[in-house]
Amino acid sequence: MSESDVPSLEMSGSMGPDDGFERLLRGETPKTPEEQALGLFLQDVGGAFQAEPSLEEEAHIAAIVRMPTTRARTRTTRTTDSDGVCR
């Protein structure tokens, strides 16, 4: 097997823990400019996707707990008729 047959990451042995990434996930301060750039990206990922479930959905959860054996009605796209069949 020649070197070109082995993916570069395996060749470099970089499959081990990524210390910088793990530090950033723990909320620690970046140690290098590269880590700082990655840290900003991770912050962007955390802030880019809306995270507040709707109040309607929370009420839905309460209903699920009260009726654990009944197939809950989904919010907007389906309705459930009297015999519990989703349409």
Partner: protein, 185 residues
């Protein structure tokens, strides 16, 4: 992880159907599940969260573990649902939603906040779209789910070496993109 030492008590209460306990579990995990569902392009992210908790309520009797294990279990349930949804989408012809439905499910934040968030989402997606689906999945579970490598292994049902390789390659791709200036810093 807001529940910490109180988790065992909350879980026991949830097992006997205490609504307050489920509300506590929901408040602790639903925002991260919702972020993960949105970032994974689930067709209906809020429904993923609802379905995840429905399955959790029904399946809690068979769950054993601590708070971290519970969190990983919920992400497993959410991921299974998202994978199913994506498979169905591929098979199903998509039809445009009526305007009134779009208005109901659309963003409700004020316009400026929503515009800023949409810009951030575009920026992040431009990077995440460079990754393979498996790389993206592993990294989203780590970043948004707060899961360890070992927990991701249980969620995605791959070998530890495979998950580590997916993470390493995904991070390398992200670093390349950052270096290319694709992210506004």
């Amino acid at each position: 992880m807001a529940l910490a030492e109180s988790f065992a008590g909350v879980l026991e209460a949830a097992r006997v159907g205490a609504e307050w306990a489920w509300r506590a579990l929901y408040a602790d995990t639903a925002p991260d599940l919702l972020r993960y569902a949105r970032a994974s392009r689930a067709p209906d992210p809020e429904d993923v969260v609802g379905e995840t908790f429905l399955r959790a309520v029904r399946g809690l009797g068979s769950f054993e573990g601590d708070e971290r294990g519970f969190r990983a279990w919920l992400f497993t349930l959410a991921r299974n649902r998202i994978v199913d949804d994506h498979r169905k989408l591929v098979r199903r012809r998509t039809e445009p939603l009526p305007v009134e439905v779009l208005a109901e499910i659309g963003p409700h934040a004020d316009a400026e906040t929503e515009a800023m968030r949409a810009l951030a989402e575009d920026r992040v997606r431009s990077i995440l779209d460079r990754l393979t689906p498996d790389q993206r999945d592993v990294l989203l579970l780590r970043i948004l789910g707060g899961l360890t490598i070992e927990e991701v292994v249980t969620v995605v049902r791959k070998k530890p070496g495979a998950v580590k390789a997916l993470q390493a390659r995904g991070l390398a791709a992200i670093r390349d993109e950052i270096e290319l200036g694709a992210v506004t810093l």
